[in-house]
């Protein structure tokens, strides 16, 4: 039972939080602390999305008992969303995985950790080239560092990819194509000062609610903020919008070109900015698969845009020409500050790289980039998609710090930092996610070279598109072996041959990197349940077993184990022994080993100890003459970025064209690969809801969130529903060329799709909409398009 002391304490803490919130951020209120041995408060970033809110975690007797928004955190200023307030409960579902389990005669049976590590090591020993690893932006930064070094530096194997390929890979290729370097120039501070916020297919009110409220709350202080919602269905974001511009799927490409066309036609583009800081690019028709394209002149650019008149754009997009002109006029005004924001709508797109480039392009063309409030901001869905995947480089073509596997010099640098013999890193990039799972689901005798796959911190059996092809295909293949490290049973563990129980969130040390280049740190606060252990330890333990079995790759060039760590006295600590893992701070050791990688692309990170003190720091974090460390908010802008030359004003110092200029791309509108027809007459868009994060494996175990949104549904347009004879709550069958799924209908609910289209949130394991979705992907980012495919919808008999 809740003791009186604790009840009084929690009541006092609740009042302190509420008082602080009504007083505003200026009034920091100290949280009450129980007596010795009682409740303790520590900081941590939230476990869920990429916003990077900080929470204060209250623990007592080895358990998380209270959560509140962190008043000291710049990102969320004490606020959290409904998921964040309940994040502590994500650890206490009744079916936590607590024991390693091996499938024997079709059943998962408990085994010891020693046996589990041995099973993995011996499979790798037998055929290291056919082993693959799959992670996500839920990996902490040190976990990603360990996995990357283990695979690329130890096994000489680049079959390592992760969920961010499904999530923000197109944002990466967009940034690389435009600026020559990944991640946004701007920060969340832009939300505090912009005059216009444009949501490009982005339901920010539900997906990033805390920073959306940071934007919208300005209105309650009397500030004028115009919100334009460019979307394919009405959402909660639309409720706050001054303008809702509904466009046909894929036609965002035409809209962006229409804006650029008007800027040139009206002479309202920023001529000085363009001449000083920009070059023009297009794809080379002779080499259409080369992302760098070829130069084009201003006249060629103007000519290419000529067909995108407002009337032509209206034909393609369905957005009235007058509204296209309104957008063109807004971008043409120098007195406004404009912030474009996007997430999956632009990224999960078969022309994701193109639309990312085009949106950057209209900001560059109009000079709306590089000043506070003038920004093109991609938001991320996972807590460390940026920190662990984009920066650490846990994708099949990357090495840490923005280096490329295919670049000999970069491989040499990585071998140097890791103290590896020359030539250890395999020069051939591995398989991107879609191809990796296609190979894993293909029999070995039919050309597959991926036999063993180790999945950590994600749920591809739920999140991959076209699941019948990319995941369920594994089911009957006896020569394939799936290892899954996770905290709960999922659609992925269902087909696993070996299941490893993992520690999560504050059951371990960690570091994340959020959407605005902010690196965050927290310490372990409670023990994981049963035999659950850190993912990072699991990787190191397998590496050590391979070392003990004589696998040469697990030695550095001096013959030492790859993950050799020493304590303050200089003595080696056998961290592969779980009982010794926390004798030192392995996170700190791995992070410090990774820091030198970050300087090449000017993504400098501060020492670990600086992150202990801060609620995150935005890179580049540069040491000052007085020994302090300064973060950077506006990259490439002279007034804030220490790497910009004095007098340059703006300097895109990783420019593709090596002249410090960014690229304005022309990319045409192109139709999607699958469109509705007589047999499959509806568009299907998939996405998320406020209450559930990603595949719902954590949030669906939080009673409050599960009750608030118990199951998935399909949003239908009212006219379509009448025609189909469907009422809210009726079961309908959604069928595509891949599969069919039954879901209850919701008409006039949270979202409102236009006639001829439907929307399904993907969080529900019992209604796997990804059985239906398409695996067509962007040619450069390789990110699949979950936002549009053709389906039929019928009332289920």
């Amino acid at each position: 039972m809740l003791t009186v002391d604790r009840r009084e304490f929690l009541t006092a803490a609740a009042m302190a939080a509420a008082t602080a919130a009504v007083a505003g951020k200026a009034k920091a209120v100290s949280l009450p602390v129980m007596g010795q041995g009682g409740l303790k408060w520590e900081k941590a970033p939230c476990r869920f999305c990429g916003t990077g809110c900080h929470v204060m975690v209250g623990t007592e007797a080895g358990k998380v008992v209270a959560i509140q928004g962190d008043q000291k955190a710049e990102v969320n200023r004490g606020l959290l969303c409904v998921k964040g307030y309940h994040v502590g409960l994500a650890m206490y579902g009744p079916d936590r995985l607590t024991t390693p389990m091996l499938r024997k005669n079709g059943r998962l049976e408990p085994i010891t950790w020693d046996e589990a590590i041995d099973v993995i090591a011996r499979r790798i020993m037998a055929n290291p080239r056919t082993f693959a690893m799959y992670g996500s932006g839920q990996w902490t930064i040190p976990e990603g560092v360990a996995a990357n070094k283990f695979m690329k530096g130890g096994l000489s194997n680049n079959y390592l990819d992760g969920n961010p390929r499904l999530c923000m890979a197109s944002a990466v290729t967009g940034f690389l194509s435009t600026f020559g370097v990944d991640e946004p120039p701007g920060v969340y501070d832009d939300l505090d000062v912009c005059d216009v916020a444009i949501m490009w297919g982005n339901n920010m009110a539900e997906m990033h609610p805390v920073i959306f409220s940071r934007l919208i709350d300005r209105r309650s202080r009397g500030e004028k903020v115009m919100v334009i919602d460019l979307g394919t269905r009405r959402t909660r974001t639309t409720d706050h919008a001054d303008e809702y511009l509904q466009f046909n799927p894929q036609s965002d490409l035409a809209i962006a070109n229409g804006i650029a066309h008007l800027l040139l036609k009206n002479g309202t583009y920023d001529k000085r900015y363009v001449e000083k800081f920009c070059n023009f690019r297009q794809l080379d028709p002779e080499k259409p698969d080369v992302m760098q394209g070829k130069p084009m002149t201003f006249a060629e650019y103007e000519s290419a845009l000529a067909e995108y008149t407002p009337e032509r754009v209206e034909q393609i997009s369905g957005v009235p020409a007058a509204k296209i002109r309104m957008l063109g006029d807004l971008f043409g005004r120098r007195d406004l500050r404009i912030n474009s924001l996007w997430c999956m709508g632009m990224n999960q797109h078969t022309r994701g790289t193109a639309i990312n480039c085009l949106v950057h392009g209209i900001h560059l063309l109009s000079g709306h980039l590089g000043k506070p409030g003038d920004a093109a901001t991609s938001l991320t869905g996972q807590p460390s998609a940026c920190g662990t995947v984009r920066e650490v480089g846990t994708l099949c073509h990357l090495l840490p710090g923005g280096r490329l596997i295919a670049n000999e010099e970069h491989r040499k640098q990585a071998e140097g930092f890791w103290n590896l013999p020359e030539g250890r890193i395999n020069p051939k990039p591995g398989y991107h996610t879609v191809l990796l799972f296609e190979k894993f689901c293909t029999p070995t005798d039919k050309g597959s070279d991926v036999q063993t796959l180790w999945v950590q911190v994600t749920n591809p059996g739920h999140s991959l598109p076209n699941l019948p092809k990319l995941f369920r295909g594994k089911k009957d293949l006896q020569d394939k072996f799936l290892i899954v490290s996770d905290v709960y049973p999922t659609a992925t563990t269902e087909l696993a041959d070996l299941v490893l129980p993992s520690a999560m969130w504050v059951e371990k040390n960690g570091m994340y990197g959020n959407s605005e280049r902010r690196t965050q740190q927290w310490f372990k606060m409670v023990d994981p349940p049963g035999q659950a252990r850190d993912d990072c330890w699991q990787t190191i333990a397998v590496a050590r077993r391979l070392f003990d079995l004589g696998f040469e790759g697990m030695k550095d060039k001096d013959g030492k184990f790859l993950f050799t760590f020493t304590n303050a006295k200089g003595d080696e600590v056998p961290v592969w022994d779980w009982n010794r893992y926390y004798d030192i701070n392995v996170d700190e050791a791995l992070f410090e080993s990774y820091r030198p990688f970050t300087r090449m692309k000017h993504k400098d990170l501060a020492p670990y100890s600086e992150y202990v003190k801060a609620r995150g720091l935005r890179w580049p974090v540069v040491e000052q003459p007085d020994g302090s460390w300064r973060e950077t908010r506006w990259r490439f802008s002279e007034f804030d970025d220490p790497y910009v030359k004095k007098g340059a004003e703006m300097q895109f110092y990783h420019s593709v064209t090596k002249d410090d200029k960014a690229l304005i791309w022309f990319r045409p509108y192109e139709a999607p690969p699958e469109v509705p027809d007589a047999e499959y007459p509806f568009w299907l868009c998939t996405g998320r809801v406020l209450e559930h994060w990603h595949t719902g494996s954590m949030t669906r175990r939080i009673p409050q969130l599960k009750r608030a949104m118990p199951e998935s549904y399909v949003e239908l347009n009212r006219e379509d529903a009448v025609r189909l004879g469907v009422r809210s709550g009726d079961l309908v069958t959604i069928t595509s060329r891949r599969a069919a799924v039954n879901l209850p209908a919701w008409i006039g609910g949270r979202g409102d799709p236009p006639k001829g289209s439907a929307f399904v949130p993907f969080f529900d394991e019992a209604m796997l909409i990804n059985l239906v979705t398409l695996d067509a992907h962007d040619p450069f980012s390789k990110q699949p398009d979950y936002k549009k495919c053709a389906v039929s919808i019928t009332k289920t008999v």
């Binding site: 809740l2 509420a18 007083a23 959290l80 307030y85 579902g93 369920r472 796997l768 059985l771």
Partner: protein, 95 residues
């Protein structure tokens, strides 16, 4: 036991705000704290987390209350509601 820190935003209309405040003061589940303009700090204490959610729903339905923000959640003793969300099968029918 459900314990929540709440910020209740009242309407700008004085009469309606006064009536709402009187109703809040009379609710045994609530302890009111500081007020800053229309924003009223409060703590809700109920016998269960489920009833805590009902409290928030009741507040949102109260005339004169514009918004209710939850700013603190005491998480203890909520596991009695926990059930595994795993289904025995998926909704897929065609593969």
């Amino acid at each position: 036991m459900g314990i929540s820190g709440l910020v209740i935003t009242l309407t700008q209309r004085d009469e309606a705000a006064g009536a709402a405040l009187a109703k809040l003061r009379g609710d045994p589940r609530l302890t009111l704290g500081e007020r800053n303009g229309p924003r009223q700090a409060a703590v809700g204490v109920t016998p269960s987390v489920e009833q805590d959610e009902h409290l928030v729903a009741d507040l949102r339905a109260t005339e004169g209350v514009v918004d209710v923000e939850i700013v603190f959640v005491g998480l203890d003793e909520t596991t009695e509601h926990h059930t595994s969300p795993r289904a025995t099968g998926t909704g897929g029918v065609g593969c």
